[in-house]
């Protein structure tokens, strides 16, 4: 018997996308702005988040989720900022998904949080497929990874909103050409905003912090408009 062809139209990641949409709407209703951070392992996500949390903790109610395959080391590092932090241990899974975020938040009162930072598992490929319900996704690359990182991983750059070049204090030692790197970012994601920072010397951090505060205000105004305040 010849097989019968039936047409369907189903997004394979429908479950994740639906859950991410629900998360986004509960964040919005509770007035929480959510930023996520992706990069390769060792690009400096945790160092950057430590700095951001320590500074932002003084100004607003900020919390963080941090994903890793194993260990709670990063959560312990981030908790030194004084902000509430929770580790998501993914086991063998190479990315966070919306369900992991939902579970991690289950006993947190969202109305007690103004800004939630989510550090994804260090991976430049898999996280790009999964919406976590965030408002903005930051992609990090460090100067030791080479200027052509965006060309090698165009999808993760194209699906993120903001780029951050980290370890900028090492640029000269690593013979890193910032102009070329920024051109490559623009090539895979035209118009992308790029920040240059150093977690060691704090270069560029004030600008990035200011940007995050403005983004926080913009998303909370949007959420107020959405619930009609």
């Amino acid at each position: 018997m010849t097989p019968r062809l039936i047409e369907v139209r189903q997004n394979v990641l429908k479950q994740n996308d639906l859950l991410a949409r629900q998360l986004r709407s509960s964040f919005r209703n509770a007035g929480v702005s959510v930023l996520s951070f992706v990069s390769s392992p060792g690009a400096g996500k945790t160092t950057l988040l430590e700095k951001l949390l320590t500074e932002l903790h003084r100004k607003m109610r900020v919390a963080a989720l941090v994903g890793d395959l194993a260990t709670e080391n990063d959560a312990a590092r981030l908790a030194r900022s004084g902000a509430p932090v929770r580790q998501i241990v993914t086991g063998t899974v190479c990315h966070l998904d919306a369900e992991m975020v939902r579970k991690a938040l289950v006993d947190w009162e969202l109305s007690d949080i103004d800004l939630l930072l989510i550090e994804n598992v260090g991976n430049m490929v898999c996280p790009s497929s999964y919406d976590l319900g965030e408002d903005l996704r930051f992609v990090l690359m460090s100067v030791t990874e080479g200027e052509d990182k965006p060309l090698k991983y165009p999808t993760i750059f194209n699906t993120a909103d903001v780029a951050v070049i980290t370890k900028i204090d090492l640029a000269q030692a690593a013979e890193f050409d910032i102009t070329t790197a920024e051109q490559n970012i623009q090539s895979v994601r035209p118009g992308m905003l790029v920040w240059r920072v150093s977690g060691k010397t704090n270069e560029g951090l004030p600008g990035l912090l200011k940007f995050i505060e403005i983004a926080r205000q913009a998303t909370s105004e949007k959420s107020q408009a959405a619930i009609g305040i």
């Binding site: 189903q10 190479c94 898999c126 497929s129 699906t159 090539s187 895979v188 035209p190």
Partner: protein
Amino acid sequence: MHELSIALSIVDAAAEVAARRGAAQVKAVHLKLGPLSGVVKDALLFSYGVACEGTPLAGSRLLIEDVPVVAYCPECRSQQTIESIQRFACPGCGSLTPDVVQGNELLVTALEIAQ
């Protein structure tokens, strides 16, 4: 390497549709795949066979249609197919094209079933 979990999701989705239609067996799954989905075709094909084992999809084929990236060119005021995802630029005029209209598909479009 998240293709195995993607393959399992495809199998789940297809098995659910097949059950709804009263099909005993799925012979093939048609899938649209865009370069911005973050999914590697070869790894997905490899994982698919494993994911199908012990399900109504065992022995089925995964037929992948590669979908190109299409972006809107603000200069030409038209949609253009982007030749390389390393450069989001209009192939006609060279302008940068930030507005992607197609290319992140990971979509089951059809099933071939046997009653």
